[in-house]
């Protein structure tokens, strides 16, 4: 390997549900000097866009993946060399298109002919093929450069060779382009799907109903996890294993807040055109409580407690495929109108799958609400690396003994707080929850922006 002479820029892990990324735009050209940390290109994955930063200072010597091309994570995208250094031979050859016949070229009508299949620059070399795979490929006379590795860092395994052989030798079932794309996206093999189109052609609706059947829970059935479910599963296990959770509960008396909202609602709506929900008040109150007690906004990094300077409140949004947590930025600074606007926008885009990666990853604290269910209280698992998550249950009528000795009813919700006990002690967590409770029970003072 010649990696000591040059630095590879790879498609990074783009969040937990993502397997592939697309180069949207190169921000630097070949030959441009680059600084470590400088943005090299824009990438898109799972409908979110982000930028890749240069891992080294030097010269962008070679771009290996053209704009518009989708490649698996950890594919080498470009090579950075030290100023004046020659581009190593292996990379110099790698950008040339392989003798590929894959579709997708029409989508990339660009000046330079881009590779029709994602290129793993060193796949034909020595480093990235498992010996068994190399033997099998030699046996079958398959050119390794045509095979896309699926192992870590794109290593070609024997299974990749077998899968390639299968693809090459089997005539695939006849399916419409849309049906084929949908099946690929959902990792559903077309074999065995009955086609309703002309002469048994598999149409989109056939794939959709096959997916429905595959994914519907039923007794005595094994269902493969979707990518999103795998990510949720990994993430929650990691959270439970690494962060010792401890839970606190308190009853929040909500009549004052409900009344406060009713009082201001018509005027607020006339002024802003927005109707803040109880949740919007809650988001702001939580953000203000975090500003009072910044440790709840912190996370553990190695041996350090990192307290970010900004407070971004994540909202757990349940989708049919699983949970996403887009975050409202700077919720302690934003006014209620801004919070309401952002919340409406984020939830709508979460439902239509149009959230940016940054919006999903920036949260510093999370609120999870099951208020619309008949659930009196629940505990939530921390959204790593965050150290606090608030669980909000339904608002219910509760009897209490009033100061005058009479038994009266009031609106109450039980709030739960889960914290990372490594850095947050019980007293701190309790203090935070009491702070929040006070803010909600005396809304006029909390939401009075002085």
């Amino acid at each position: 390997m010649e990696n000591d002479m040059a630095t590879e820029v790879v498609m990074p892990a783009l969040g937990l549900t993502v397997e592939k990324g697309t180069i949207v735009k190169w921000l630097k050209r070949e030959g441009d000097p680059v600084e470590r940390g400088e943005s090299l290109c824009e990438i898109e994955a799972d409908k979110a866009t982000t930028e890749i930063e240069s891992p080294a200072t030097g010269v962008l010597a070679k771009i290996l993946v053209a704009e518009g091309i989708q490649v698996p994570l950890f594919t080498v995208l470009a090579i950075i060399t030290a100023a004046g250094e020659q581009l190593p031979e292996a990379y110099a050859r790698a950008g040339e298109p392989p003798p590929a016949d894959a579709p997708g070229q029409a989508a990339v009508a660009k000046a330079a002919p881009p590779p029709a299949e994602p290129v793993l620059p060193l796949s034909a070399g020595r480093a990235r093929v498992v010996p068994a795979a190399r033997r099998r490929a030699a046996e079958l006379g398959i050119d390794l450069s045509r095979i896309q590795g699926t192992g870590p860092d794109g290593v070609i395994g024997r299974n990749d060779v077998e899968a390639f052989l299968k693809r090459e030798t089997q005539s695939p079932p006849r399916a419409s382009t849309l049906a084929r794309r949908l099946a690929e996206e959902k990792a559903l093999p077309l074999e065995g799907i009955a086609g309703s189109g002309v002469r048994g052609r598999i149409m989109q609706a056939d794939v959709e109903s096959a997916l429905e059947k595959r994914d519907a829970p039923a007794l005595g059935k094994v269902i493969p996890m979707t990518r999103m479910r795998q990510a949720i599963s990994r993430r929650l296990s990691q959270s439970v294993v690494t962060a010792p959770h401890v839970y606190f509960f308190t009853d929040v008396h909500l009549d004052p807040l409900l009344e406060f909202r009713n009082t201001v609602l018509s005027g607020f709506e006339a002024a802003t055109g927005l109707r803040p929900s109880i949740n919007d008040f809650l988001i702001q109150a939580a953000a203000l409580a975090l500003a009072d007690m910044p440790l709840l906004n912190a996370y553990v990094q190695g041996e350090e407690i990192v307290i970010p300077s900004e407070i971004h409140i994540g909202l757990a949004v349940a989708l049919p495929e699983g949970l996403v947590v887009p975050a409202i930025p700077n919720a302690d600074q934003a006014g209620l109108a801004e919070i309401t606007r952002q919340r409406i926008d984020l939830v709508a885009r979460a439902k239509s799958g149009r959230l940016a990666l940054a919006e999903l990853e920036r949260g510093t604290f999370t609120i999870s609400s099951l208020a619309q269910f008949d659930i009196t209280h629940f505990t939530a698992i921390l959204n790593p690396p965050q150290s606090g998550i608030l669980s909000v249950s339904k608002t219910r009528e509760s009897l209490y003994l009033a100061d005058d000795g009479a038994v009266k009813a009031r609106q109450v919700s039980t709030f739960g707080l889960s914290v990372d006990h490594r850095i947050i002690d019980g007293a701190v967590a309790a203090g935070f929850l009491q702070n929040l409770k006070r803010k909600l029970e005396i809304p006029a003072f909390t939401f009075l922006r002085v």
Partner: protein, 469 residues
Amino acid sequence: MGDGMHDLAVIGGGPGGYVAAIRAAQHGLNVLLVERDRLGGTCLNRGCIPTKSFIHDTKLYNAVKRSGVLRGAAGVSLDAARMLERKNQLVNNLVRGLEAILQSHRIEVVKGQARLEAPGRMSVAGLDGARVDYRTRHVVLATGSRPQVPPFAEPDGLRVQTTDEALNTEEIPRRVAIIGGGVIGMEMAGIFLNLGASVCVLELLSDILVTEDHEIRRAVAVKLRQRGVEIRCGVKVQALSFQGEGVGLTCADAEGRVFHLQTDRVLLATGRRPVMDGIEPARTGLQTDGPYIRVNSRMETSLPGVFAIGDLVGGMMLAHKASAEAEAAVAGLLGRKKDFRPERVPRCIWSVFEIGAVGLTEAQARAGGRRIKVGRFSFANSGAAGAMGAGEGFAKVIGDADTGEVLGVHILGEHATELIGEAAALMTLESTVEDLAEAIKPHPTLGETLMEAAMDWSGGAIHGLRRTA
């Protein structure tokens, strides 16, 4: 009592009914078709075909008059009587041809007014007044529609007309006011313009052709105005009065201000309403959806064994939509379930431009919440369009940015109505915009414009200036 039991009785012999009858007969069914007027329905007798005949002749006339290369073209004139005669001959030929086709399939054609008695039972009052009962396993209702006459108007057939009369009139008016800026109004405006009439269009809604893409609407409105048409939107016509040789219109604009117009002829193009003669929902128990018969995606009504298709069930009132519904209905009664997909019905308009569209408008696609991309190509960049002196127009492709699914295609310009068929075929095949860009097109043809629009969508048209980001 008619002889024996029929497998299928079709009420109405238009492009819905006769397609159902022929298709069913091809599958060996014993079919009865009842028509009280002429076979071919509105399309053949009072709609698509007559207007296309007029459009051809008046367009030719207009093209000759405007030609810069023909000598003596300025003195050319159009013989409206011959134009009408040609149309009548064409229609007669087609009707006779249709009769022969139906006969060849041994379809029993009965002339008269049908009456649906109950599922499986129907009677027909013949032209002689005698009523005959029929028993049938299935019924397809395809009674069609007739022009909707607004409450303020009483058409006299001469100065105040619906399309029924307008397509049988030799006399060319000097001035015509068209009430309704929908598809029918726009087609008739094109014909009258080519005949040299001065045209005014009055539309109740805020724009003409409201069902079409905003770029189509804008291009048509601009062209109409260029050719001297007065378009007034947001206008409610309140009253018509016969004044001397002409007609006076009392109208109110969007702000309620009343104004008056004088014209020689008024054409009512205010939509069409379904014909319920013989199938009255109140009597038969057919469920309705507004003014239309309610059906599911397989064209089944609320009565067992009774299907309804075409203008009768609403949606786009187009001959080919009725025919496609007929196919779905017949497949259904043969036990082969086939859903009718309204989003794949192409829409064609022949006005000052030809317009072909299928699927969603850009606004509808955006409202759907998907990530979309739009590709465009101008006829001005097409050699083929330029050669035929038709550089005005564009093709526009709307596709799902993630899957490449073709969501909508809109073409405006020469032969747009022919070109749109390709887009409809691609959508039926569930092809993607990239497929459309990849298919090789012969040069020089107008079909290249659609390919280039798809290329624009996919990254770059060849015969277009580089897009700057």
